[in-house]
Amino acid sequence: MDRILELKDVCVTYSNKEKRVYAVKNVTLSLDMGDSLGIVGESGSGKSTLAMALLRLHDESSTILSGNADFMGRDLISIPQEEMNELRWKEISVVFQKAMNSLSPVHRIGAQVEDIYHVHEPKATSDQIKERMVELLKLVNLPERVYRLYPHELSGGMMQRVAIAISLLHSPKLIIFDEATTALDVVTQGQILNEVVQMEKTMNMTRIMITHDMSVVAASCNKVAVMYAGEILEMGMVTDVFKNPLHPYTKGLISSLPSLFGTNDSLHAIAGNLPDLSQEIIGCPYAPRCGNASEKCFSAKPKHVSFDNGRFVACWLYEGGGRDE
């Protein structure tokens, strides 16, 4: 399996004259071609920040990036914006959350698709572009006439599919879905996830799925990374992590999903709130909310403990290391 993306100690810090916010701290993970990684976490856990930073879409003047993000031989964090522009959409594309507002409301969808296409293929003709787009629209189960419509004439679900189709224009190697189905109803969400998974079977696509919804990850990803307060607490194959969660936070997340079987007397929630990200956190960020926390958890940051199958967890409970399933 070829490695497509390798993150090492990626940090994202927002900085203005008043204070600093440590949004993402020392994220280390790797992704192979064909993987579908779900990055899961609460609101404010830093997952969207990480994605935006990898694409260098944040405000350069007020954000500090550090670390290494190797994408097929290039470090996304340090290359200049002009080089980044070459990669954008051709190699990496994004599907954003609010698809309804992801295109200009006063231009037709087709006209905007042409502009987008021309950024990397300035010589392409209108017919060629339309042909390509219609092909993609078919993949997401949308009729050809969508091409001539305005964004407000489509429903939320349809616009989301359009956004997915647009993200595939140049057949990029990596697509990032940033909370792409969060704004949709459950039924539409299910349909779209199915379509995406079907699509992947025919195309050689690597996907990062950013979401707060564990069920989305379970339904459509093969790997999962659990993020909290800007740090990755656990990562591994979906089957491994869901069947046998190691980190107390992961356990809490999974048990908070209501079961389809039996009676549901009460919902399990994780008590407490996210820590203040403007403070540097010394120990494990989850310690204040963790039932298994010991003194060590508050004073020293847990090291990554690795297992087979690309599994690792950052928790002092597994200090002994190398436990088999």
Partner: protein, 321 residues
Amino acid sequence: MGKYIIKRTISGFITVILVFAMNFFLFKMAPGDPITTLMGTKATSKAMRHALEVKYGLDKPLIVQFISYLRTAAHGDLGISIIYNRPVADMIGEKVGATLLLCLTAAIIALVIGTAMGIHAARKEGGVYDVIASGTTYAFNSVPSFWLGLMLIIIFSSGLKWLPSYGMVDNRADYTGMAYVMDIIMHMILPTLTLTLILIPQYFRIAKSSVLQVTNEDFIMTFKAVGMNNKTIFNRYIFRNAILPTVTIFGISVAYLITGVTLIEIVFAWPGMGRLMMTAITQRDYPTLMGSYLIMAISVAVAMLLVDIVYALLDPRIRYE
């Protein structure tokens, strides 16, 4: 789109009628009436008054008077001026051109300059240009238009003697052709400059805030993620979206424009509608007043209708309501 135009036209029509009705009844309520003026203060004969009222149709109920006025107006007859004894329609016809010349020139120049300034200030927000431009336009927004006109006259007419201070043409000279046009232009510079300076601030304000707002919209992020260069993003998408509020403001400001023009016409003795109305008010020349007001109300309604249509052409979301 067609349905939208029809709807708006009907609504505009109703508004014009309402506006005009309000004025018609306002005149009737005012102290003093034309019959007394005609009769003179000494005459008290009731029979004479009654005869005159019948002659001018003033004995009929107000509604009937209103409707008959509208009917004759629809035929282009706006009555006869009491003071000048000329058809009101003719008098208005002579002056309308001068007012439109001033109005439209100033409005368009202000729109272009104000919007361009606002866009530039938004792109370099917080910079030196922004601070100076915002401060200056803030000040000009607070300036009385007629006073500004007077100040410009002091500086450029009596002070530097570069430009004439009143009228539209030099009545003593007998220019024709190109010289005539140049003469008008020379006379136009100061009044147009005054009106333009007063109008620029609102276009500046709306353009700046609009560009700032659109730049923060989600779809701009999409284009950045696609790798589109900033110039294309700005010219094709930010501009097109940000221009919408400017169009709206243009429509709203038409009503203001008319009042602004009047004051300036007085200052510069410009022979336009504003001056016509002012003299009619002071002389209680009701037919001229009513005729002028009707024309004004119609112009505002037409202008706003045109602006609405332009807006609908630019913003597809409106068309499909």
